[in-house]
Symmetry: C2
Subunit: 377 residues, 2 copies
Amino acid sequence: MSETPTVRKIHVPLGDRAYDILIGPGLIGSAAREIAARLTGRRMAVVTDENVAPLYLQPLMESLAQAGIEAVSAILPAGEKTKSFEHLVPVCETILGARIERNDAVIALGGGVIGDLTGFAAGIARRGSRFIQIPTSLLAQVDSSVGGKTGINSPHGKNLIGVFHQPDLVLADTDVLDTLSPREFRAGYAEVAKYGLIDKPDFFAWLEANWQAVFAGGAARIEAIALSCQAKADVVVADERENGRRALLNLGHTFGHALEAATAYDGTRLVHGEGVSIGMVLAHAFSARMNLASPDVTARVEAHLRTVGLPTRMSEIPGQLPPAEVLMDAIAQDKKVKGGKLTFILTRGLGEAFVADDVPTSAVLSFLAENHPDRAA
Amino acid sequence: MSETPTVRKIHVPLGDRAYDILIGPGLIGSAAREIAARLTGRRMAVVTDENVAPLYLQPLMESLAQAGIEAVSAILPAGEKTKSFEHLVPVCETILGARIERNDAVIALGGGVIGDLTGFAAGIARRGSRFIQIPTSLLAQVDSSVGGKTGINSPHGKNLIGVFHQPDLVLADTDVLDTLSPREFRAGYAEVAKYGLIDKPDFFAWLEANWQAVFAGGAARIEAIALSCQAKADVVVADERENGRRALLNLGHTFGHALEAATAYDGTRLVHGEGVSIGMVLAHAFSARMNLASPDVTARVEAHLRTVGLPTRMSEIPGQLPPAEVLMDAIAQDKKVKGGKLTFILTRGLGEAFVADDVPTSAVLSFLAENHPDRAA
Ligand SMILES: NC(=O)c1ccc[n+]([C@@H]2O[C@H](COP(=O)([O-])OP(=O)(O)OC[C@H]3O[C@@H](n4cnc5c(N)ncnc54)[C@H](O)[C@@H]3O)[C@@H](O)[C@H]2O)c1
Ligand SMILES: NC(=O)c1ccc[n+]([C@@H]2O[C@H](COP(=O)([O-])OP(=O)(O)OC[C@H]3O[C@@H](n4cnc5c(N)ncnc54)[C@H](O)[C@@H]3O)[C@@H](O)[C@H]2O)c1
Ligand SMILES: [Zn+2]
Ligand SMILES: [Zn+2]
């Protein structure tokens, strides 16, 4: 049962919060072995959703049982709306009821929704319990499971309530991506492309050439996931609590979050990665509009995202969008606000993103109005 | 408007989480000045309870308004039951609705209940907002407002859900203690005495001699509060996250929490400090029973707590208590559990408390049964 050579290991060196990310096939089956190698506890609480449970909960529970680990599980509804106090409360009670102690752990088995909610519950149960991420969506494998940001949504906006709580281990089983819907795979791919657009133009060019192999699975997919995790880990280690550079990870997210809010987090209209895809194109276009970058860069970014099948324009979102002023309001309520001024991730070229913290509200508002589907229609 | 000489300042040197505790008369009136000297933000959300609001909310809001600080307030029901998700959720929404940004702050104006709940809300709103404690009960001034433990209760036990979130400033206005009920003042006094019993026998002796002056107010009271805050701050600085020495602050609390759970957190039957008072006597008696300390120490401790009017025996709690087995169960579910073994704060003599982490469950259970009122009756 030694690790197959295809399993990649990335270490996240965060001092007494350091942890490993393992990426490769078959990791759910060997989960208990990897956990037991790192934690002495023998009680776990597994949280998952109703889509992932029928596929992967039983193999995980069997792996744990074989290793002598006593585990309880909770199955939540799938979807962004689950990231709410309504579902957080019973998850906390499940964890406390399982009498998880210092060397035991809470396990998130699912996409970013389950990871964010469960990580938050682990972060507040007994003022911080150990936490293992088993991300099952591409987005969760390349982004949300790494870095310790956890949380839920509020009527005031996305992810506004939460804590920083690093996992003790991340197990990204790449086999499970085969059951992910193509739409969700594409949404996760938007975050993969993001790492290229932040500061890795070569990676973006590699994706332009190899995206079909990444979508098909196998070595190229594992490579793309590992590179993404490494990129995220590097940023997190440099700036764990997002006082500076970590904000770059929000490329495309300020616009994206506003669109998610505008569609009431209704996944049938827009999922997170799709919002990020449109948001990244908007961020490039806005940078061009501010004379920071060439419009050619926007065109190249949009072309690639469109080629893989991602939406790139607000007009592609089904249904009516609120007016530009309301979108602007959602942006102003977003986390990246300091003293009333807008902080935005803009770019000077392909892979040259930077944090701009004095973007005039008026410029954003008129840009939004120009790009609004109501105007185009 | 310079600080009167009677205001004492204690600095808590926690690196980038360092803060000041100010102790003395009139601090609510000068709150805005002290805040503005430390934070540049001009938006605050004040959380208080229905007993404290009519007495001190208006002076605080006026002080803030005069300093150009825009503040919203939320008034919650008084009492331990407020430390629940039910009340946490609207407080979070109030904070987010107030658009508190990085240099703004959330203010807790009240006793330990308001401080714990509000600190938790501040700790999770935007993954951590600035937080100011204005403790108004003696217990909150000498204990709960210092050290960064925040949280709420769960059906599984007290304080089981929360975060470590240090305040940016603590303002202990000693004038406000004049309106505190004698019963609540005594309850807070139990925590003052606790610092003596942990490792300051001279302070305990000073309290035996000067308790009447402390109850009367004035210099002796300020002295006792300042010494208590300093004692707490020292422990917190040595062990912020309770991996070791900080556990000593739980002297009397394992038994106390079990009694609070057994009385369903019903403040008409038992308030926290009363539980601690009984719990400290039990902890001393149990230490004597384990041949660790002389029974004379228990007698001396009990005599002083009784003299100031605190309950010292389970039989003094009005109404029926559950059987010893149920109390034991509540103890086992308490936070201080490692690998199934019981961690207890015991003592070798007056002011010689220590952390014992292998106390046999059977010994505690039979001790509880012997001291149970049903047996005495
Ligand atoms: N914490 C962070 O740093 C961070 C970063 C980026 C995104 N996020 C959050 O992540 C969330 C989005 O994550 P997501 O896209 O994974 O959403 P998700 O968790 O809703 O998963 C998407 C869908 O795929 C299903 N699914 C997941 N794995 C599957 C599998 N292997 N097979 C079949 N179906 C599967 C889920 O049930 C769900 O219906 C958002 O809430 C976003 O805010 C967090
Ligand atoms: N965070 C910590 O480290 C820590 C430490 C010890 C205790 N605690 C918590 O503190 C809580 C107990 O605190 P508490 O005893 O202050 O309880 P509390 O907040 O319920 O206050 C006691 C009562 O006094 C009233 N009151 C407060 N100040 C007043 C004033 N100046 N004048 C008139 N009435 C006033 C309150 O409305 C309440 O009815 C418990 O929940 C306990 O778990 C926390
Ligand atoms: Zn994202
Ligand atoms: Zn206490």
